[in-house]
């Protein structure tokens, strides 16, 4: 591509051609990359436009329009009116936070054990954990629903939290094991000599040192729990317990002449944590996704 322009044969190169070619290459690079950026960014125009502005008469709010004026009315309606955004956000926050805490608790203890112990089938176990993680949730959803029903966890926030937490657990165990691996065993041994119990060593020596890693893992876990759509969709039927993605989906399906201004106001409120993560913790997310793709390396 662009390299073919840069890499002409040295013998045939003239100084003037060279500068021109470099400039052409740069123009080409910018052209392609600007197109690519537009492809990514253009879809975001509509939700912001329709959430923050009033539309002219006789125009559908499903499409882009020239705004008449700036307004916060859509947000007002979403939060205080029929959007019920607060209930939906509260449910989302509750299930997400409890899922993340649950996954972190289990994974930090389990990850510690995986890091510090050595048993015959350990590699097989680690391998199986990855294999289990990779199977898509859609493939095992029907019996999962039956199991949840056995435990009376259908139509409950607890069911969603547990399901979402366990869904991330195999990957989190890998990540936490990796972090504990980086904490030298000598530090623990020193603590034992000072008379600390095993649990004290974990909570007061190992975990503080693995904290940056735990932070990164929590952000990753939060983002995927916050986005969870499939599990709540099959488990929840009482709309009082709906999380935000279900609320959005219900509106998207139910109304034909939908007020997309309000719907987009809700969507933006819902996407706020995602945007914050994007702005302030993007690197964690990229590194975490890479680690997920390259687990075992």
């Amino acid at each position: 591509m662009a390299d073919s322009l840069l890499a002409s044969h040295p013998a045939r190169r003239h100084a003037g051609d060279d500068a021109l070619q470099r400039r052409l290459t740069l123009v080409l690079i910018y052209l392609v990359l600007i197109l690519f950026s537009l492809f990514i960014l253009i879809p975001f125009l509509w939700p912001f436009l329709s959430a923050f502005t009033t539309k002219p008469e006789n125009v559908s709010s499903l499409y882009l329009y020239w705004p008449k004026s700036f307004t916060l009315e859509h947000f007002n309606e979403a939060v205080n009116g029929r959007g019920q955004a607060l209930t939906l956000l509260r449910n989302s926050l509750l299930s997400t936070v409890s899922a993340v805490l649950l996954a972190l608790l289990f994974a930090s203890l389990g990850g510690y054990a995986l890091s510090r112990s050595d048993f015959p089938l350990k590699r097989l176990l680690m391998f199986s954990l990855l294999l289990i993680q990779i199977i898509p949730a859609t493939a095992t959803v029907l019996p999962l629903y039956l199991i949840m029903r056995q435990f009376h966890m259908t139509d409950s926030m607890a069911g969603v939290s547990v399901g979402v937490a366990v869904g991330q657990l195999p990957f989190m165990l890998w990540v936490m094991k990796g972090f504990v691996d980086t904490v030298p065993l000598e530090l623990e041994e020193a603590a034992w000599l000072d008379g600390a119990t095993s649990l004290e060593t974990i909570t007061q020596v190992v975990m503080p040192l693995a904290l940056p890693g735990i932070g990164a893992a929590s952000i990753l876990a939060f983002n995927s729990a916050w986005s969870a759509f499939f599990l709540p969709l099959i488990l929840l039927s009482d709309s009082e317990k709906f999380t935000m993605p279900l609320g959005l989906f219900r509106s998207l399906v139910a109304y034909t002449n939908m007020d997309y201004g309000m719907l987009n106001a809700m969507a933006l409120l819902y996407m706020l944590p995602s945007f914050l993560i994007f702005l302030f913790a993007r690197q964690y997310l990229i590194r975490g996704t890479m680690a997920g793709a390259m687990a075992g390396q």
Binding site: P10, S60, L64, S117, P170, S227, F229, L248, L252, F278
Partner: protein, 291 residues
């Protein structure tokens, strides 16, 4: 490691393994059992199911809808694989080893869709792909005099592939970029000295050296396509008709729309085997070793 410590460790691991077994392994095993019954989600067959042997599988393999769904899923994987590869490798080649104004901005923009929840992506694209001359895509194409089209109805496969490319090309690019940046600079310089053209460098040096990354992304994306649900379901609900009923949506529909847990489980099991085979390949490739 002291003796007391060693006895303590299995206790710490046990809760995690138990939870994973109950909520992830057991459902997979249970799928096998349910697939040999006529269990239903509700009604009389919900409680009094009977063993019907291989009947579900006979019905599944003679079902046109199922084949349709398998073919759709394959098409979806192939098209997204090709599209993501082209976009991902082009962007990675342009960015790699170059310093230019706006590079950080671009890197940020590309990962933006990856952060956004699937259902909001579906919402955003329902406006992009909207009908008449008002849909954003139609308006853009109108600039070059292309007649407006109702994308999700007229070109459902194109629509869901396009959204996938928007969402996931950044991931492909990041993986390819990591591969390209790990190629030793001297190698490329030597090739340049020997007069290798850009295309030759790409075909004979760069692609062979990042083949590992490419294969990795290929398997991950294909497994992702097998399990794909929210992005497509949110946008089309599998429609129009069953034109975008990918395997994941097919399984969901059998179970939760038609209440046929037994039959749906038979389809699930095929899906599980397909993803297991690909996952196994992927883990072997990652050289996760078994003792």
């Amino acid at each position: 490691m002291t003796r007391a410590q060693n006895r303590f460790l299995p206790l710490l691991l046990f809760p995690s393994l138990l939870a994973i077994f109950i909520f992830m392994v057991l459902p997979a095993l249970w799928t096998i059992y349910v697939s040999f019954t006529d269990m239903a989600l509700a009604g009389p067959k919900a409680l009094n199911m009977t063993f019907i042997g291989l009947k579900n599988y006979v019905r599944l393999f003679s079902s046109e809808d199922f084949y349709h769904s398998v073919v759709l899923t394959l098409e979806y994987s192939i098209f997204t694989n090709i599209g993501q590869f082209v976009i991902g490798i082009a962007a990675a080649l342009l960015i790699s080893r170059r310093v230019f104004v706006g590079k950080n901005f671009l890197m940020a923009v590309i990962v933006l869709p990856m952060v956004i929840p699937g259902i909001t992506q579906a919402l955003i694209w329902s406006s992009m792909l909207g009908s008449q001359e008002f849909g954003t895509l139609n308006r853009l194409l109108g600039l070059i005099n292309v007649a407006p089209v109702l994308w999700t109805q007229a070109f459902p496969m194109f629509s869901i592939v396009l959204v996938n490319l928007w969402n996931n090309s950044g991931f492909a690019m990041i993986l390819f970029l990591a591969g390209l940046e790990s190629i030793p600079q001297e190698l490329l310089e030597a090739a340049q000295m020997d007069g290798a053209s850009g295309w030759q460098q790409l075909l004979f040096i760069k692609l062979p050296l990042i083949r590992y990354m490419v294969l990795l992304w290929l398997l991950l994306n294909t497994i992702g396509c097998l399990g794909m649900f929210d992005l497509v379901y949110g946008l089309t609900r599998g429609g129009p008709g069953n034109a975008t009923e990918l395997l994941g949506i097919y399984v969901y529909n059998r179970g939760f729309r038609f209440y046929e847990l037994g039959f749906g489980s038979a389809a699930s099991l095929i899906l599980i085997f397909m993803s297991l085979a690909l996952s196994f390949l992927y883990l072997r490739l990652m050289r996760v070793e078994l003792d």
